[in-house]
């Protein structure tokens, strides 16, 4: 019952002269265009966009939507991405008039309700992180990393210190070194030890007076909380460096441990992970940052302040790094985070993390007799297993498992990241999945390991397409439709 016609490209569905959207007749006197604009600026014809009826458009995209797996339709244990349930109430509330339709350059006096929520969100993030200075401006986690590193750079400049080196863990997200580079810093990598934690000796060897920031993910990308955290942060602070915490894994420690309390000086949140902002097929996210008191004056401007029961945007921050984007921030995503936090309260957030930990450890315990879990007795909110043994004994790679799981109706875990584990399978079930779902997922994995190799190698079988040729796509990239193609 797949609709083949409407999964053609928009451009192939186009018929000259077909139209959807129409405007009311022009109600002001029409002037010749040439009298309004210089003729050399005018186009001979509008761009060659496709021509479709509204019914075409709706059916086309609705059919395309059915080719996606999503949190609303499937278990989506994509490690490191925190694919939790996206509450519907957040969608309704964020779409209210007075929020979704506010112009970014309205006067503060006209948006007191909105500013109140954003101000409260700043306070909430400060409380959750244990870091008092908050900027809601960055548009995504990586953007927050960059903004925070710029804050650190501005701070060191103000202190008259030359600290151009950023250390990142070898298990870190690629965004860490990429952000450091964009902030004009050099990066060096700190190794992981046999327990999957920071190799403290390697860190200490690399620390010196040129070290600006150590970027740390804790719990790390293996789902492990680094038990040496206080030693790590002390060692960096002793050398005058700052600790940056990548907040990608905050879903594990809400109300359990605060970055500010374990030594972080700067961090970002991923509200689209931790606070249930829908991932939108790849975005939008948001990347609010929190910093220690002595870094607050360097944060991007504006921030929301409260004076005499009125809220306003404070632009007058002379030491601020400035802006990292246009307008206030990804407000739609931030409001969903606000609604989510309000819906849970402090105790609820702690339970979020507890249930995320419970689910991950349960699933880990169920799969560890077929997949090796190289590190730790327990994990936090996610775990990284290795398909190395399956590869050796049964010829099945992490990629094979990932692809075959799709046939069983499960989105694949993250595979081949972090790179320090061979044939890695990174599973993050989140707190919003039932025991039955986790059991079904584990059982699917068991069954796959018993299946004929060829069946698994050629998976998926139930999807519209299977194993696209990425080599061809990269060798001769076709990045747009053309009439000839």
């Amino acid at each position: 019952m797949r609709n083949q016609q409407h999964t053609k490209l928009l451009f192939e569905l186009s018929r000259p002269g077909r139209r959807a959207h129409r405007l009311p007749p022009l109600d002001v006197p029409a002037e010749p265009l040439e009298s309004l604009l210089p003729s050399e600026a005018l186009a001979d014809a509008p761009p060659p966009l496709p021509e479709l009826a509204e019914g075409d458009v709706v059916r086309h995209f609705t059919n395309l939507s059915t080719l996606n797996m999503s949190v609303d339709t499937h278990f989506y244990p994509l490690g490191s991405c925190t694919m939790k349930y996206n509450p519907k109430r957040n969608e309704r509330l964020a779409s209210l008039s007075g929020l979704v339709d506010v112009h970014p350059l309205q006067e503060d006096a006209s948006i007191q309700g909105l500013l109140q929520m954003l101000f409260e969100l700043q306070q909430m993030l400060a409380e959750i992180s244990g870091l008092p200075g908050v900027s809601l401006q960055p548009a995504a986690g990586a953007h927050g990393e960059l903004a925070a590193l710029m804050v650190a750079a501005a701070y060191f400049r103000r202190q008259g210190e030359d600290r151009p080196v950023v250390l990142t863990a070898d298990s870190a997200h690629g965004t860490n070194p990429a952000s450091a580079r964009m902030a004009g810093m050099q990066t060096n990598t700190v190794k992981s030890n046999r327990q999957g934690l920071v190799d403290l000796e390697d860190l200490k060897r690399q620390l010196d007076r040129r070290t600006g920031v150590f970027m740390l993910t804790n719990p790390n990308t293996l789902g492990l909380f680094d038990s040496q955290i206080l030693e790590i942060t002390r060692a960096v602070h002793d050398q005058g460096g700052l600790i940056y915490l990548d907040g990608a894994n905050m879903n594990a420690i809400l109300g359990i441990a605060r970055p500010g309390d374990f030594g972080a000086d700067l961090m970002h949140f991923n509200p689209h992970k931790t606070f249930s902002g829908p991932h939108g097929g790849g975005g939008p996210g948001a990347g609010p940052i929190c910093v220690r008191d002595f870094l607050t004056e360097f944060l991007p401007a504006p921030v929301v302040v409260k004076e005499d029961d009125a809220y306003r945007l404070d632009y007058d921050r002379p030491l601020s790094i400035g802006r990292v984007r246009s307008f206030f921030g990804n407000v739609g995503v931030l409001l969903r985070a606000y609604f989510y936090i309000r819906s849970h309260g402090g105790e609820g957030l702690r339970r979020v993390s507890e249930d995320a930990i419970l689910g991950a450890n349960y699933l880990r315990s169920r799969v560890q007799h077929i997949l090796d879990v190289p590190f730790g007795e327990f994990c936090m909110h996610e775990f990284v297993a290795s398909a190395s043994r399956l590869k050796k004994e049964r010829g099945l790679t992490a990629m094979d498992l990932a692809k075959r799981l799709l046939d069983y109706g499960f989105h694949a875990p993250t595979v081949y990241f972090p790179m320090i584990v061979p044939e890695s399978v990174m599973v993050e079930p989140t707190e919003t999945e039932s025991k039955e779902t986790l059991d079904a997922f584990a059982e699917a994995l068991f069954r796959i390991t018993d299946e004929a190799q060829d069946l698994v190698h050629e998976a998926p079988h139930s999807t519209r397409i299977s194993r696209p040729d990425e080599v061809q796509a990269a060798r001769k990239p076709i990045m747009r439709w053309t009439p000839e193609s």
Partner: protein
Amino acid sequence: MAYFFHTDEDRRQMLAAIGADSVEAIIDAQVPAEVRMNRPLELGPAASEIELEREVRRLAAANLSPASHVCFLGGGAYDHFVPAAVDAIASRGEFYTSYTPYQAEVSQGNLQVMFEYETLVAQLTGLDVSNASLYDGGSAAVEAVLMALAITSDRSRVVTAGTVHPEYRQALATYLEEIDAEVVTAEVGPDGTAADLISRIDEQTSCVLIQHPNFFGRLEQVEQIAEAAHAAGALLIQVFDPVSLGVLRRPGELGADIAVAEGQGIGNPLAFGGPYLGIMACRQELVRRLPGRIAGQTTDRRGKRCWVLTLQTREQHIRREKATSNICSNQTLLALRSTIHLALLGPEGLRETAEQCLQKAAYARRQFAASERFEVLHESATFKEFVVRDTSGDVAGALRHATEAGFLAGVPLERWYPELADCFLVAVTERRTRSEIDSLVSTLSSAPRSLASASGVAAGA
């Protein structure tokens, strides 16, 4: 706390399977006692759906918006109409609760949308290739400059027009502070000329950044500037307004090497500044330096046409510190909305929208010019917004008066341009009607003059 699953019995069974007495014990085994939080987070009690909705509705109702007031605000974000079909499709969970298409087989919907979006952006701009989106117009302009600096790696000067959106230029200054590059800004303000800009382009210039139509709604001499930039071996980056391309020539035809835009005006809500959509397109030969994700066409193992993420070696998850950018999450959902809206508009719909903006803005400009109190800074060659001067010098008072009468009347320019303290920016989209425009001009004209002298009287009394 409505989203949890586990019953007490579930917990008991799960803990038994794990071999732990409690979740607390699992945490204790990993998180050192010294860093454990020893009090509850102070975030207040959990709000039920009914309570939360009651409170948020009250707070939302406390804000003015284009739903309550007739909106003439612009300055990079616009009250364009969004057809119902855009909201209906984009609110499908299969779109908005999915993630980056790491597993192409179960993401063909999103991947095809990305490919269609990239094609539409290429068609719109007259350039060869587009990425799948960046954060917003401002950061897209910055990324374009960083891209140009990487391409022309022996050059470190960026020449920008003072007529580029001031917040985009602020973001650029922030980014360039940390790297070895300098910005030269030609004449800041609405009267900057091409000649002035061109005089600053030299052999050290990596790229020239202009906005057309510019922040003040005026057209720039793009072709002339492109010629000068190219003659000096520099790239031209043009910030454009997607809606304007219903009537204006496309960036690719004018000589832009990289074109960037704020895509909010094509199908996306105002949302107090975000999430928005950073559009970026470039010439084919620059694609290896293009930041962000790109969807490409290929075939699957059975030979069926399909789509995948491609040229991923540009990106941070592979190239790490040498990546073209650190961007990971992008704005796919907003790109979807723009794709739907462009599909609904088609060439004629886009032309009609652009022409109505142009005609209505021109009408509004004539009404202001004819008024006693106001002047317009430029009598012609503006697209959908223009600068109005209040000869009485009381912009704040006039705008406040208009707000009380039901208008979001204009954007005061003093914050970015102190010399334009008596001016504000008025934007007119296709949504506005003649009677709204007429009553805006008459309302502003009837505003009490000079609050400054009025408050002086009050202070003296």
